[in-house]
């Protein structure tokens, strides 16, 4: 049964081609998070339900930043090894620290030498937008889960897993990251045996 599903999936999604989740049309290039939810967290007594539109609008900008970050950091082979465009999404002191955390926040400095392709990038994004005393968006937390298969040059596969929380604020009209916590938990997938799955 599992084998049937795998074959069906292979046919549906074109095998080794990238799988793009329904994260909306605003994702850069070939990656966009699936937006699981956006909600407002007001500093005032305004009910969050009355700030849905505000949160949604801010959420679109925040999603743009997070889509761009993970696209540049993992999916875009042209950015591998040179993640300047990704680090531009961090604000102030966070930028220097992000550069120092390159091995966790990106596919790594030697990605070009280590990997051939990246397949099946997918991710979930949940956003909480804090609004200020005028009920305008001021800060946000974006919680992300990202996963992809990175094919190594030695034909092995590394399953990339990045789970994190990012704090963002508006800087010159764009949402930038000023704090973060990210965990990577990559797994190595052994090469499948020639006989295939026992199912």
């Amino acid at each position: 049964m599992i084998a049937v599903l795998v074959i069906a999936g292979f046919l549906l999604f074109g095998g080794g081609k990238k799988l793009i989740p329904d994260g909306g049309p605003s994702g850069p290039g070939e990656f966009a998070f699936h937006l699981a939810g956006v909600q407002a967290s007001p500093l005032t007594r305004t009910p969050p339900s009355e700030l849905k539109d505000t949160a949604r609008e801010a959420g679109a900008g925040i999603k743009e930043t997070m889509d761009e970050l993970y696209f540049r950091a993992f999916v875009d082979t042209g950015s591998w090894g040179d993640y300047g465009a990704a680090f531009e999404l961090f604000d102030g002191d966070a930028q220097a620290r992000a550069e120092a955390d390159e091995e966790v926040l990106t596919l790594g400095a030697t990605a070009k030498d280590d990997f051939e392709t990246i397949e099946g990038p997918s991710g979930l994004l949940t956003i909480v937008v804090q609004t200020d005393k005028k009920d305008a968006p001021v800060t946000a937390i974006a919680e992300v889960q990202f996963q992809a298969d990175a094919q190594r040059k030695d034909d092995s596969t590394t399953q990339i897993s990045s789970v994190g929380s990012f704090f963002l604020r508006q800087v010159d009209g764009a949402w930038k990251i000023f704090a973060y916590r990210v965990d990577r938990d990559d797994q190595a997938a052994a090469a499948p045996s020639p006989s295939g799955s026992p199912s």
Partner: protein, 311 residues
């Protein structure tokens, strides 16, 4: 008031990702082969406080009732919060509300009158003149605000150091428990049934603040969105001149300042009377005020025994 811009710099942000199981990920590539863990790694960054100069915040509790401006009540709770970013230490110094001191608005009276007579500015100036501390910010709340804050947070987890009867009849038992907003308020206001009266009350008010900090730190580690919940609860129920950006920085920084790095003490003095009313005469010069004003904190070993009443 001495204006100062807080500078955001590196620090650790403890933020969990509870509730976001990877199992919910969509479109996970088929991987019917064994997986070997090859690398766990972690990165984090958060703004924090920087610099050699201490930051001082005057934390006030007004007895104004609902509908009355906070700044027109008597000040039932007065605490200096000193923060030394470089040493990563902080100190809470409680000033008994009955302290008989020169007021910035003129004359000598109980210090709690300074708020009603001169508003926040008058209160700040009075405490500055008394202590030599120059405040960067102030925070003030009232009875109702305090109850609402802790109720909005789902209660306050606190370790009560000794059992006593609250002034409204609540029997506070020694040990760990969770206060409702009303219980927290009663705990912080009870004076006559604690051993050292006004001094113990002030100490208990400090305990509440430290318990709140510990709870914030725990919740923030589990779920970073807790930060917004705490900011909202505070923002709706306090008046302050701390700008939001700097409040955020302080909030992040407070995750660094565990309760063990914060000293809680009370400026004690001798009991006397003035015009038939019970008052506290604080020593002058006061070594506690001098110590905290110098660098923003007092080490536990430097606290005279009389400045840490009842626990």
């Amino acid at each position: 008031m001495r204006p100062r811009r807080l500078v955001a710099v590196l620090a650790s942000l403890a933020a969990g990702v509870a509730g976001l199981g990877l199992a919910t990920l969509q479109a996970t590539p088929a991987a019917s082969v064994p997986l070997l863990q090859i690398g766990k790694a972690h990165a984090e960054f958060a703004p924090s406080l920087q610099g050699d100069k201490p930051i001082f915040i005057l934390v006030l509790g007004s007895d104004s009732r609902p509908g009355t401006p906070l700044e027109r009540g008597l000040c039932d709770s007065i605490h200096i919060l000193g923060i030394n970013p470089a040493a990563k230490r902080a100190t809470l110094v409680g000033i008994p509300r009955d302290s008989y001191v020169p007021l910035s608005t003129g004359g000598t009276n109980k210090i709690n009158v300074a708020l009603a007579q001169g508003g926040a500015k008058g209160m700040i100036a009075t405490v500055e003149n008394l202590t030599g501390v120059r405040f960067d910010y102030y925070v003030i709340t009232g009875f109702d605000g305090m109850k609402r804050i802790f109720d909005a947070l789902g209660g306050l987890k606190i370790d009560v150091p000794y059992s006593f009867q609250g002034h409204e009849g609540t029997s506070f038992q020694e040990g760990k428990q969770t206060f409702t907003g009303a219980q927290a308020l009663e705990f912080s206001r009870t004076r006559k049934t604690v051993a050292h009266g006004d001094f113990d009350r002030s100490m208990n008010q400090g305990r509440l603040l430290l318990a709140a900090l510990a709870q914030f730190k725990t919740e923030f580690r589990k779920d970073p969105t807790a930060l917004f919940k705490w900011l909202a609860a505070g923002s709706r129920n306090v008046a302050t001149d701390v700008p939001l950006n700097e409040l955020l920085t302080l909030a992040f920084a407070s995750a660094e300042f565990g309760p063990k790095r914060i000293t809680n003490l009370v400026a004690v003095g001798s009991i006397g009377t003035a015009g038939g009313a019970s008052i506290v005469n604080l020593p002058s010069p006061n070594p506690i005020f001098q110590d905290v004003a110098a660098d923003g904190y007092v080490l536990p070993k430097d606290i005279p025994a009389e400045n840490a009443p009842s626990g």
